[in-house]
Symmetry: C2
Subunit: 151 residues, 2 copies
Amino acid sequence: MKENHKWEKKLASSGFRMTTGRRAIINVLYKNVKHLSAEDIYMVLHPQFPNIGLTTVYRTLELLEQTGIAAKFEFGHGKAKYELTEEYSTKKHHHHLICRNCRTIIDYSDFMEDELTYIAKTESGLSKKYKFLIDNHIINFLGLCSKCRSK
Amino acid sequence: MKENHKWEKKLASSGFRMTTGRRAIINVLYKNVKHLSAEDIYMVLHPQFPNIGLTTVYRTLELLEQTGIAAKFEFGHGKAKYELTEEYSTKKHHHHLICRNCRTIIDYSDFMEDELTYIAKTESGLSKKYKFLIDNHIINFLGLCSKCRSK
DNA sequence: CTCTCTGCAAAATGTTTGCACACTC
DNA sequence: GAGTGTGCAAACATTTTGCAGAGAG
């Protein structure tokens, strides 16, 4: 995991310092595939780093978001969730399938060819019409997962 | 606005009562094009209905969401926002263009032909693969609006 | 007249902030 | 050493809940 230096460089070049806490938090995000809330991260960290407080997790996540290392998601169930952006994670571009009952979130990377065409067309159309500089998009499909369906 | 009866019927048939507060809240959502937070609605209502409390607004919004009359959105800026679903509003299917700087949200209904094809294909593919019963989708484009761009 | 709905105040939840000390560069 | 980063406790903002009374069917 020497690739760590990538985000270390990014932080340094943005004028921030690399500390034990920040490194630990990024590592949790890196090793975990799932979207994590501030508290999730705190819980994972706590056994090994009992001296890292929840405040630091919040502050670090904000920092990571600002520097483009992590992205924040709000799925509508109270807590904000974070994951590393594509540039800093091993995960590829994906979207979400959200169960409105049990709140499970499935990431999918399928059907991206269809998406590419659609997004490209729409994005350029919207950019022109609304003079927006679009740099990202979120697609969520909502419904019931197989378990909740069968009840 | 005699069409009101549509949601009144829906509430009644779901076993809920129609009250002054509920009627007033739905009317605010109906007359306002924009996404409104619980507090927004409370503020609009308060001059004319000073006896409707914020608690009732929250409880009514939850009820409307459960009965499918309104939809809840969390754009990631703290407060949840609501709008009537397509079935109960005059608004047509749309998506969002969100400025990450000033938080302006533009609704757009353009480019829906391209979307239809893409969504239909993806939805059926995802349904099969993940055994999800998909009944809705959200598409948000993120970036900078024209004003924030030029700064 | 019954049972749902409501307002109020209080609690709960998630997140942010002030301050003195600790650690990075 | 200078100045950023941190933990703790307290503050905050939004949303939820308990309860006794009001209003709908």
